[in-house]
């Protein structure tokens, strides 16, 4: 111990080697439990522990390929809705405190209330995915590894075209895991005046005109 003491920095000597060791262990325990708690909120079971999620979006998602498919590989709620990287994940988790607030307010606690807000909620996710280049999709679906010969005719035709145009997944793949809000497709009066869905082409075309 005497020989080791020579190499110890002054601050270690001041508070003692044992205290330093304890602090180090405490740090690991603290970080571990923080991460554990964070991951616990990053599970499908946690998401659907709220009936808001269970009765609305989760039910719709059960009919889609990300819930059930041939190989049983799934994308659960956080796979699409929470970034994987630490920094963006923290930011998203802090933003989610707003969702806790609205849970307490009961903003979307019935399917009717949820559907009334469906467009706004969907728009948030579309904007988020557009802004981060559909990062959560691309965690699994990497277009540089796509084998077009294995894709259907339509997918093989559209994908290279869209990527060249700089489009991102969400531009075309809206409403793939949940139902869409009312979209004005110019068919009858039902959805007249509702939002029109964008396929990422409109802003693209405008910038080209300016050039």
């Amino acid at each position: 111990m005497m020989s080791l003491e020579k190499y110890m920095p002054a601050w270690v000597k001041r508070i003692g080697a044992v205290t330093v060791l304890l602090l180090f262990v405490a740090g690991i325990v603290f970080w571990g439990s923080f991460n554990w708690a964070l991951e616990a909120t990053n599970k499908e079971e946690f998401c659907i522990s709220c009936h808001e999620m269970k009765e609305n979006v989760f039910k719709e998602y059960q009919n889609t390929i990300h819930y059930t498919n041939r190989t049983g590989v799934r994308a659960t709620c956080p796979d699409c809705h929470v970034p994987k990287e630490w920094g963006p994940k923290m930011i998203r988790k802090i933003q989610a405190s707003n969702e806790v607030w609205h849970k307490l307010l009961g903003s979307v606690d019935t399917p009717e209330k949820f559907n009334a807000k469906r467009h706004e909620l969907a728009q948030h996710e579309w904007d988020r995915m557009k802004a981060n280049d559909s990062k959560e999709c691309r965690n699994c679906h990497r277009y540089d590894y796509m084998d077009y010969t294995e894709q259907g005719n339509r997918a093989a035709r559209m994908h290279p075209k869209a990527f060249v145009e700089g489009k991102t997944c969400i531009d075309c793949h809206k409403g793939i895991a949940h139902q869409l809000p009312a979209i004005d497709q110019h068919i009858g009066k039902q959805n007249e005046g509702a939002v029109e869905i964008s396929h990422g082409e409109k802003p693209e075309a405008k910038t080209e005109e300016k050039k």
């Binding site: 339509r154 139902q179 110019h186 959805n191």
Partner: protein, 148 residues
């Protein structure tokens, strides 16, 4: 008007009685040989056909068949997935068949600016294809086309 269903039923009974009698012995239905009071187990479920080129029509004015899988494509009050590609605004970009002009007419034959709501449910007429092979040979021939 009441006599029509009765008449149709009578005709159907007569026809089926005459037509099926000979084929009945060797013809197996889609559910196989499972007795009617038991649940048929199908290991060989019909699967949707893979994407293919446009399927030629069998007769004039036949609603074109859907030559691609429509798995997960919903037509709801909020959104008509078919129109996401087949509408006139989208067809050029997506390379899909444009909705025919007849779909723009209301029931008084008045032209509308877009699809008539009575055409909203595409799959009432246009159907996707499955790999279900016909149980009996089909000898249907369309009437001669114009100019033939």
């Amino acid at each position: 008007m009441r006599f029509i269903p009765a008449l149709a039923l009578a005709a159907a009974v007569l026809l089926s009685g005459a037509g099926v009698a000979s084929a009945q012995e060797n013809l197996e239905s889609l559910r196989g040989k499972t007795p009617i009071n038991q649940e048929a187990r199908s290991d060989n479920m019909f699967r949707p056909e893979k994407d293919q080129e446009i399927i030629p029509r069998n007769f004039q004015k036949q609603p074109p068949l859907i030559p691609h899988s429509i798995k997960g494509y919903n037509i709801t009050q909020n959104f008509n997935k078919c129109m996401d590609c087949h509408s006139k605004e989208r067809a050029e970009e997506t390379g899909a068949t444009k909705v025919a002009k007849s779909h723009y007419l209301d029931r008084e034959d008045k032209k509308l600016s877009n699809i008539s709501p009575r055409r909203y449910f595409c799959m009432q007429c246009h159907v996707p294809q499955f790999d279900a092979k016909p149980l009996v040979e089909n000898t249907y021939k369309p009437a001669a086309k114009k100019g033939e």
